[in-house]
């Protein structure tokens, strides 16, 4: 038996070789550019055809093979140059989707040129082979394996021992640092893509020579290669080789199990290797993925389709329940959708007919529901999914089973089927908790592969013959109410409209709710989200389950409409189609997805109507995806916004003469700003628009807000100062950004936040009433936390990372109403200690208590729920949300609404939402952020961002705040304002603050007590004045002892150095 197994192992060599070469290419590209190259299979396939073509034309294989490999290298470089690099600014997901477009273009193009039938590729190695125990191992197969081993060794040597290999690794790990050392990261990435492409080409040529040449099957060999790369860790060439070994053996050894009685039937079942490998891959991911640790996962597309804020601070018409004219528009659209089938298609639209259009509408509805699950999961939460079609299929097949075995039909099967998909999606979500970004994409890719190859084929789930063929149980009895004949397209059209509308409105409600904000927050920064009390794990699972549920609705509807379903309807290709629809729609926009679904359904109709185009459907779909990605990343969702922009520009031109007085002022201002330089017409036009808009805003807001006096007095104690008020003179609006980057027409960009004195805390509410407590801000502190005594206590904290002890036996405490400073040189362990207290790190030993409660083992969000708020050294706002929405996210803990109430918008959730908004409005006014409240935070000045982050911490209502270097990056004026703000919230709101700061002047100015860390140990503690004089502290900063006489100067120097 063992000998037999050994023999099967030997016979697996061709599989191992093929997967190894492809996997190594995937890893080379991933290591160099952190991009998941889904076009890798196409890069293997096209060169194989080119070699075939060359050989057919009489070119010797000695030249034909290098020609093919060269074509692969060129294709790799072209992909990098035309797709990957231009999409870099939009993130890794966009780059990955870009490679999907390349895949579609190349495969569809090859099928057009060479046909989709198989061809016999020329032999690279001699014919014949060696017979091993009755089996033939051909020279080509052995050659494939040998070349794979040689490639692995060569690439290992390249990366390990050569300068260029080191440079490639370095450029991938840290492009900026590599650039400083004279390495061109772009060139390195291009080189890696070239290598990856040539290796894929070699694999494709060799593989085709021992199998056949067929565009689809050859290019899809990348799927097991991805599994191999993943099993190997995705970063290691040797790992990829080991992964290929595992995958090749798993597939190649399956027949050997027919020798083992007992498991023979199960083990040899078609698709079983794919199931085993998927379990293995997901297991590896789960095992190797870090235990939940927060971090940045800004991986999803950053298209600006939804730059229009979801929540606006002072526009009360935004909530769905108060839709106003938009609501009327929605009703009108809905009414039209319901009415047109009764009137039919006008004759001038011939050859379109009502029946076909109903079919297209049903198709579009299905597309929308499936793609909207991607919008939610990928666009909102940042969790990349390439397997949504599989979840659609799981629901469809589950519903078929229910119907077949239990007689359960629509609509009950809709709920059950959707729940089945939700469960499957949540299981995948469990893996997602351990990995992020592109690793998750690979997990979903593998899941889609398994569903294709096993789940939708295995008889117990899909029925014999590879297809579930079931009859749905109609609702009611034929001929009697409420019987519905779902085979009638018009009847089913209404079902689809009802389902799609429900999904649309439900998801829109969800997006505008506490849950939706939590999703966006997780996408922006998991650590920041957790620090605001959002249970990241729970919400990720909710997102996966909800996306699965929505996809499941589509699956059940497809089954109900068609009566039967087949596996091909849920293949990876279809998942990529859904992704393309979501991307073309704008990825984060549901309305855009509706439009994209209609476009794709219309394309389908067009290609049906015009047979000559029929063969180009896939090519055109891929082309559309590529064009949208590269030329119009906002997708269809951005069309209305851009049309408005165009209209504004036209309007400016039309109104030009009427603005002469303002124009004169603008010219004068520009001349002044340009200090004698010529004020260009473009600059003048920009300023004119700025002035007009500033006037408009001021006029519009006068009745709403009572402007506070220009000067106000706040604060108490030694730093009492006079602060600047909030009124924005028109001249300040003129001081907007000048230059080519400024967008004059965009209303939200025409005012410089600095000029608005953002962050000027005047401490007053409307009517000049002063703030005296958090309650005045609408923030409810739990009374139990108002207790006096110690608020934060860290005792004997030690944090180790492997062999490195970052913090060693450190204790500190913050008492109620205190500002406590924590200083130390870079690398002293301050942020590590901070993270241990807030829960981002788990201390190796020691304990943390909040308000007397031991919270050492509690996760971040639980500590936030107990009253601990924080900011971050590197600002972690949610860049795609507005200032107001960033604050709204922080109301999470105070908002009692649930997922369900968010979806259906109950009275309770409306009340909670209104209360949350009111709280945020108060904080916006308190911080003087009104003018920028509805602007996305991306692009705001650094000082403003710091202020927003502090505001966000305030909105949580946390009585204990931890601020990590809040003055970092601020100028003196901004630092002074920050100091005043901290003193104010401490004095007037009775907050306790733990503060890390390098600005010694600032930290000593505000702190009641200070701790000094150095090299992970507590160097000193005491009053600020004592700390400033402590020779050990000074020495720690300067690195040498100081004389008494020079201490003052040296401290100042130390401050500068810090």
């Amino acid at each position: 038996m063992l000998v037999k197994f050994g023999l099967y192992l030997l016979l697996s060599l061709p599989l191992i070789g093929a997967y190894a070469m492809l996997a190594i290419g995937i890893v080379v590209v991933f290591r160099a550019s952190k991009v998941l190259n889904l076009a890798h299979g196409a890069m293997a396939m096209l060169p194989a055809y080119i070699t075939y073509e060359a050989s057919k034309r009489g070119i010797s294989m000695f030249f034909a093979v290098p020609l093919g490999v060269g074509a692969g290298a060129l294709l790799g470089m072209a992909t990098e140059r035309l797709f990957v690099r231009p999409l870099a600014r939009q993130g890794a997901t966009a780059q990955t989707v870009g490679t999907v477009a390349v895949y579609g273009l190349v495969v569809a193009g090859a099928a057009q040129i060479w046909g989709s039938g198989s061809k016999t590729a020329p032999l690279v190695f001699p014919a014949g082979g060696v017979h091993v125990a009755g089996a033939l191992l051909r020279w080509g197969q052995l050659g494939l394996f040998t070349v794979a081993l040689a490639s692995a060794a060569g690439f290992y040597a390249l990366f390990r021992f050569t300068g260029i290999g080191l440079a490639m690794r370095g450029a991938a790990e840290n492009p900026r640092a590599a650039g400083l050392m004279g390495i061109n990261p772009e060139r390195m990435a291009r080189f890696a893509w070239m290598l990856g492409g040539s290796l894929a080409a070699l694999a494709g040529i060799l593989l085709a020579s021992v199998t056949n040449l067929q565009p689809y099957s050859l290019s899809l060999q990348m799927l097991p290669a991805f599994v191999a790369a993943l099993v190997g860790g995705f970063g290691s060439l040797l790992g990829a080789l080991a992964g290929a070994f595992a995958v090749g053996v798993a597939e190649g050894m399956v027949p050997a199990f027919s020798l083992v009685p007992g498991i023979r039937r199960i083990a040899t079942q078609v698709g079983m290797p794919q199931l085993v490998l998927t379990v293995l891959a997901l297991g590896v991911m789960y095992y190797r993925g870090s235990k939940f640790s927060v971090g940045d996962s800004r991986a999803a597309l950053a298209g600006d389709a939804d730059a229009t804020p979801i929540h606006t601070a002072f526009d009360t018409s935004r909530l769905p329940r108060r839709g106003g004219s938009k609501r009327l528009l929605r009703y009108a659209i809905l009414l039209s959708l319901l009415a047109w089938p009764f009137f039919g298609v006008p004759s001038f639209l011939h050859p379109l007919d009502t029946y076909s259009l109903l079919g297209d509408a049903i198709l579009a509805g299905g597309y929308f529901i499936a793609a909207s699950s991607i919008v939610m999961l990928t666009g909102w939460v940042g969790q990349i999914s390439l397997s949504q079609a599989a979840f659609v299929g799981i629901s469809a097949f589950s519903s078929a089973l229910l119907s077949r075995h239990y007689g359960i039909g629509f609509p009950l099967s809709l709920i059950v089927g959707a729940c089945m998909s939700a469960c499957a999606s949540a299981v995948l979500g469990v893996v997602a908790l351990r990995v992020r970004g592109l690793y998750l994409a690979v997990a979903t890719l593998i899941f889609a592969w398994m569903a294709d190859e096993y789940l939708f084929i295995v008889p117990w789930f899909a029925g014999k013959g590879g297809s579930a063929a079931i009859k749905n149980h109609p609702v009611g009895v034929h001929g009697a109410f409420p019987y519905f004949d779902f085979s009638d397209r018009r009847t089913f059209y209404f079902v689809m409209i009802a389902a799609a509308s429900s999904v649309l409105f439900g998801l829109l409600n969800l997006r505008d709710s506490k849950t939706g904000r939590a999703f966006f927050a997780i996408r922006g920064s998991e650590s920041a989200a957790a620090s605001l009390g959002i249970d990241v794990i729970r919400y990720k699972l909710v997102a996966f389950a909800t996306a699965g549920f929505v996809a499941g609705i589509a699956g059940n509807l497809i089954l109900t409409h068609q009566d039967t379903v087949v596996p091909d309807q849920f293949s990876l290709k279809v998942s990529l189609l859904f992704l393309a629809i979501a991307v073309v729609g704008g990825l984060r926009s549901l309305h855009g997805t509706v439009a994209a679904s209609v476009v794709f359904a219309a394309l389908s109709e067009l290609f049906f109507r015009v047979p000559a185009l029929g063969e180009y459907l896939q090519l055109v779909s891929a082309l559309l995806l590529a064009v949208i990605l590269l030329v119009y990343p906002g997708g269809l969702a951005a069309v209305p916004r851009d049309l408005r922009r165009v209209w504004r520009r036209i309007d400016v031109l039309l109104q030009h003469k009427k603005t002469v007085p303002i124009r004169d002022r603008a010219i004068a201002f520009c001349r002044q700003m340009a200090k004698g330089a010529e004020a260009t017409e473009a600059l003048i036009a920009e300023r004119v628009v700025a002035v007009r808009q500033a006037i408009g805003r001021q006029i519009a807001r006068v009745p709403v807000f009572q402007r506070v006096p220009a000067l106000a007095t706040v604060g108490a104690g030694p730093t009492e100062r006079r602060l600047t008020g909030l009124v924005v003179p028109i001249e300040d609006a003129l001081a907007g950004p000048l230059g080519p980057g400024a967008d004059a027409v965009e209303g939200e960009k025409d005012v410089d936040a600095d000029a608005l004195d953002v962050g000027g805390a005047n401490g007053e509410l409307e009517g000049g009433r002063k703030l005296h407590s958090m309650h005045d801000l609408g923030l409810d502190l739990k009374t139990s936390y108002q207790a006096r005594g110690t608020v934060i206590r860290a005792q004997n904290i030690t944090v180790r990372f492997g062999g490195l002890t970052a913090v060693n036996d450190v204790s500190l405490e913050v008492r109620a109403g205190q500002i406590v400073g924590l200083i130390g040189p870079n690398g002293a362990g301050k942020t590590t200690l901070f993270n241990a207290i807030s829960g981002l790190n788990s201390p190796t030993s020691g304990s943390v208590s909040l308000f007397g409660e031991d919270v050492t083992v509690l996760p971040v969000h639980e500590r936030a729920a107990r009253g601990l708020g924080r900011t971050f050294q590197v600002i972690q706002l949610f860049p795609e949300l507005t200032v107001f929405e960033n604050l709204l996210v922080a109301t999470h803990l105070h908002n009692p609404s649930t997922l369900l109430s968010n979806v259906v918008v109950t009275a309770k959730s409306v009340r909670a939402e209104l209360a949350a908004e009111e709280t945020c409005r108060r904080v916006v006014r308190f911080l003087g952020l009104e003018e920028i409240a509805d602007r996305p935070v991306a692009g705001l000045p650094f000082g403003t961002l710091r202020m927003i982050e502090i505001g966000r911490a305030l909105v949580t209502g946390a009585p204990a705040l931890m601020l990590d270097e809040p003055a970092s990056g601020l100028d003196n004026r901004e630092t002074d304002k920050l100091t005043e703000l901290l003193l104010f919230v401490r004095n007037e709101l009775n907050l306790s603050i733990l503060l890390i700061e390098h600005d010694v002047r600032m930290v000593t100015g505000v702190s009641d007590y200070m701790y000094v860390l150095n090299r992970g140990v507590m160097l000193a503690e005491g009053k600020p004045a004592d700390i400033q004089r402590d020779p050990a502290v000074v020495a720690a900063y300067l690195g040498e002892p100081i004389s008494d006489r020079g201490s003052e100067t040296d401290v100042a120097e130390a401050e500068v150095m810090a």
Binding site: G117, S118, A135, Y216, A256, G359, I457, T564, D568
Partner: protein, 382 residues
């Protein structure tokens, strides 16, 4: 079928259909009316195929469907066609449902009948130990493999060793494989071990695969000639397959329910006319492709039936005519459909692929052999 996995053998069907169509339209049409044919490519995608059929029927209001090489799509639309009472005339017979549907008139021999005939012929020639490699993903493979096993069971008293009623595994001599794998070395080794070692070697092997998978598997998996022989079904009856397969296919019998233009049949007047007409339509067409020939026959049936119905053309009248007519094209044995029995073509014959240093053509191996178990051995769920 311009693309997709079935395109290599189903793609040329179009030429067979348009040959007949152009001929009849050039000669004045049927009852003085030209026939209007609309072709759609569904890529052998079952869901798309069904959707297209629905669009044809209710959107374009087509009168009838001809040939429909999209066997997977036609299968999905089976209930719909019955419900709508739309005639589907001259289909390729790949799947058994076509013979049970009163509104479908296949001209081909079903895969099940072909496998019956193949097994019976092998047994008659002395075979006792059978093996089969089949496509476990597509319906024709699953249906045919089940029927082949049932035939062997009748003939020998036992299932094929390794038979799995789930029809989804490669065990022993009953080997279901997944199309599209880069290597079948392991599957081939398992199958060959089961066939050629231990108690009694296989003396007959059937390969029920589509051409791409068959090429891959046969290159890796046919180390010895079984004593009685080895054979393939109609999807392998194309010239490109015979040429590309080379030595591993030398001696393979390929079965068809038609009269291909090979050997003595090539000079048969009806067969020669078929070849001439097709070549006038497309000089490069592979007239040995049996699905192309099926398309020609199917469309010819449609035309003849329409001519018989005459001016009183309704779907029901067409059905009545088809259910009572006998169709003699010379390319098959005479075909007769009757209400409740659409098994008109139940015979198959084999031709042997000959390869020495190069492809040397086919040799007629058998005459038509009738299916001894017509309508039996349909797997559950089909």
């Amino acid at each position: 079928m311009a693309d997709g996995p079935g395109s290599s053998f189903l793609g040329p069907v179009r030429t067979g259909i348009t040959t007949v169509l152009d001929k009849i339209n050039n000669s004045g049409g049927v009852c003085g009316r030209r026939l209007d044919l609309t072709l759609r490519n569904d890529s052998w995608d079952a869901a798309r195929g069904k959707q297209y059929i629905q669009n044809f029927v209710e959107g374009d209001k087509v009168f009838a469907l001809a040939v429909v090489p999209s066997s997977e799509g036609l299968r999905e639309a089976d209930a719909y066609i019955q419900q709508q009472k739309v005639p589907v005339v001259g289909t390729d017979g790949m799947l058994i449902h076509q013979y049970k549907n009163p509104w479908i008139w296949p001209v081909a021999t079903s895969t099940i009948s072909t496998m019956h005939a193949m097994a019976k012929n092998a047994a008659d020639r002395g075979s006792k130990r059978f093996g089969i490699v089949f496509d476990a993903q597509y319906h024709f493979g699953v249906e045919g493999a089940f029927a082949f096993n049932q035939a062997v069971k009748r003939l020998t008293g036992d299932n094929i060793p390794g038979f799995d009623s789930q029809l989804k595994s490669c065990t022993g001599r009953f080997c279901g494989i997944q199309p599209g794998k880069p290597s079948y070395s392991g599957d081939a080794k398992q199958f060959n071990d089961a066939c050629f070692s231990g108690a009694g070697t296989c003396d007959f092997i059937a390969y029920l695969l589509e051409p791409d998978t068959a090429l891959s598997f046969l290159r890796e998996g046919r180390p010895a000639n079984p004593q009685i022989g080895f054979a393939g079904a109609q999807p392998l009856f194309t010239r490109p397959f015979a040429e590309n397969c080379q030595r591993p296919c030398d001696g393979m019998w390929v079965w068809t329910g038609y009269n291909p233009p090979l050997e003595s049949l090539a000079s048969d007047p009806d067969v020669a006319r078929y070849v001439n007409e097709v070549h006038q339509e497309s000089a490069s067409a592979d007239t040995t492709n049996q699905f192309l020939e099926g398309g020609y026959i199917g469309m010819s049936l449609m035309v003849q039936a329409l001519q018989k119905v005459g001016p009183a053309l309704t779907r029901q009248n067409l059905k009545n005519v088809l259910d009572s007519m006998t169709f003699s094209s010379g390319l098959t044995s005479p075909l007769a459909w009757r209400p409740g029995n659409h098994f008109a073509n139940v015979s198959a014959q084999a031709f042997e692929i000959q390869y020495k240093q190069s492809f040397n053509g086919w040799r007629k191996a058998t005459s038509f052999i009738a299916d001894p178990w017509v309508g039996e051995d349909i797997p559950s769920g089909e």
